[in-house]
Symmetry: C2
Subunit: 400 residues, 2 copies
């Protein structure tokens, strides 16, 4: 299937340039210009060691009227102390000067190695040329410019009609390791040309992230630099202020689908990942409990190596379930299905289960592990991947 190219989003222009942030010659600096009057909302990592650009971006977004986003790959500017903060601010000032806006109207983002200072001068040198090259059709190049260990760019799009107006939703994301976003994500940028009031957009990004980036895990580690930004340039259609307004439902659906597609793509391209696995937990007492079980199963190294081996080692599944709920679980109520194959029945091996059936499911590139707890009515899901030799290789060699 030939990939469809990302369409432009009215009111948004992008430029990707090589700034030599690492010793490579690829694009590694992305500048995004947002039309005056646009709404911009974001969620950020909950990691206490959040990076300098995250701190600055939080500060700036709170003041509103965002006009530009600057994203660099290759260096996270995290755990870099006062100099890190000053570097992030210097980048915002340079963008402001080149684009004739205020530094507080610029959001900085960084991704890459933690604990090293930005090669500031190279960024400052590259920013003016980026500002001079802004184009509406810059999304494809942007998706590549923000990659680090990703093996491919991640992008999604939806077109919809609100009244007579054709509206576009486009998103790009990067991320493949240090992935278990917590109320945030790796870097993701979703934009629409629709007009959405700021308070509503703030709500929409939270809702969309909650069912997308907050449901994925590659290795259970939450990054210092996670951020997901939703931009509504406001060029198309009537302003949408509340969920009752015309077009809200269709737009929220499109925005959510773009988030989900990007989040799933982050897992599919997880470091060393060969399998894309949905962990569905049903019959939990609460959503929190369902998610706890799902992440315990999805993050267990023993489960993940079994996924890698295409080995339906259901003993490891029950082990992980039993670790998530250590006291009150009635194991005799637990059933587990591999796609439609029941493997665990009443806490033990299902009567009709045969190893070959489980192997057939596990040997597929994508499948679902469905766990019934029999405790209540809450259900949740997450998306995860296997743990392979390639994961170890990638992460044992990342800095060298």
């Amino acid at each position: 299937m030939p990939e469809s190219l990302l369409p432009p989003v009215k009111g948004i222009r992008l430029a990707s340039v090589p700034a030599k942030i690492k010793d490579w010659s690829r694009d590694d600096l992305l500048l995004i210009e947002v039309a005056e009057g646009a709404s911009v909302s974001a969620t950020f990592t909950q990691n206490s060691f959040c990076a300098a650009p995250v701190m600055v971006a939080k500060e700036h977004i709170a003041q509103g009227n965002i006009r530009a986003l600057l994203v660099n790959a290759g260096n996270a500017n995290a755990a870099t102390g006062a100099r890190g903060l000053s570097d992030a601010r210097a980048c915002c000032s340079a963008v402001a000067a080149a684009m004739n806006v205020r530094a507080e109207q610029v959001l900085p983002f960084s991704t890459g190695v933690i604990g090293e200072h930005l090669p500031l001068q190279r960024l400052l040198d590259a920013i003016p040329s980026a500002a001079a090259e802004l184009i509406e059709s810059g999304w494809e190049r942007a998706a590549k410019a923000i990659m680090t260990t990703d093996t491919r760019p991640k992008k999604a799009q939806r077109l919809l009609k609100i009244g007579s107006e054709e509206v576009t939703v486009v998103g790009i994301a990067k991320g493949s390791g240090m992935i278990q976003p917590n109320m945030a994500t790796m870097l993701a940028y979703v934009a629409t040309d629709a007009c959405i009031a700021q308070p509503l957009l703030d709500q929409m990004v939270k809702e969309a992230v909650n069912v997308s980036f907050n449901r994925v895990s590659v290795d259970g580690d939450t990054s210092t630099n996670d951020a997901c930004v939703l931009i509504a340039s406001g060029v198309k259609g009537k302003p949408i202020h509340s969920p009752a307004d015309e077009g809200y439902s269709a737009l929220m659906e499109a925005i959510t689908q773009v988030h989900i597609e990007l989040a799933q793509d982050v897992v599919r391209d997880g470091e060393g990942a060969n399998k894309f696995v949905t962990i569905q937990v049903e019959g939990a007492e609460s959503s929190e409990e369902a998610l706890k079980v799902a992440f315990e199963v999805g993050n267990s190294p023993l489960v993940k190596t079994a996924l890698y081996a295409s080995d339906p080692n259901w003993g490891r599944l029950v082990m992980a379930v039993g670790n998530a709920i250590t006291h009150s679980l009635d194991t005799e109520k637990v059933n587990i299905y591999l796609d439609t194959v029941q493997v665990v029945q009443a806490g033990g091996r299902a009567v009709d289960y045969r190893e070959e059936l489980g192997e057939q499911v596990f040997s597929q590139p994508e499948f679902t592990i469905r766990i019934e707890l029999g405790r209540g009515n809450a259900s949740e899901y997450i998306w995860t991947c296997d743990f392979s030799h390639e994961y170890v290789t990638i992460n044992a060699e990342y800095r060298t």
Copy 2:
């Protein structure tokens, strides 16, 4: 250094036999006889899917007067439902018949693959011959009989004097994957010929396990079959009833040291492990917080692959610390030391830190990562290991 053989413990006899629990010819069934009047205490896994033998052992130990322990390797008899329970009880009855005790005086233990039924008849056939071969000098063979993916037996010993009496403490353990015991351990058996009252022994095993097996992690997964048993055969010396009694302190110290030595050895022999790393957390608000940080760092796949690569990737250390305490951590108070080399100072790279210094520490087979949080006075430690290609290989091929 030639290993010293485990000495006999008066009042305890052991026999190891090959029962063909898997398709192998090694010893895989261990019978331990305990003298009449001995005290026996144990801690067990907190996993809800605790194995059938764990359920039966808990039931029997509550009744006291334990006279025998039966341990099989190769099959965990976990997630095996009613038949699993009945199999475990049948083993106890067979031991009782062969040793002329009651079935309730027998503790069963199993370790190996989860979710398969015991080859019961083979165990029943082997039990009488084991009962006929009980000897005091059976510890060395016992340490080997209980192994699964372990690459070597784990054993420890201490000799001490209480008054004029020479007292022995001997311990064996098995375990190298699915290792993050929770108030329990993989299988461990520690025995002394001292005389310790049952209520005091119950307290002693909890204390010893808390500073030993509860401080180790290979992969963060808690097994369904963890158990640690402490036996006082009561043959030597005067009965010890309280911590104030003569000999208690020296004995508790010896017992604790044996537990620690075994727990550390489980980590050293962790699946695919090449490094033995102590994570020391200081300046926490509470012990719980210190342990949470230590386990978050010690279980992070990104930290563990960096350990494997001998790469002092301290960005991953701060990432993990920031994930353990997501809201109130003042990152500027955080310092991190690799042995004596300060790598993080006030939340950022230490001024004098040079990469070569970190690499020197990380290239050692054993070292300490010390994390100062600057929040309070609590400190804790855990022992962990690296995450290697061998871990993936072992766990991707375990059942095949």
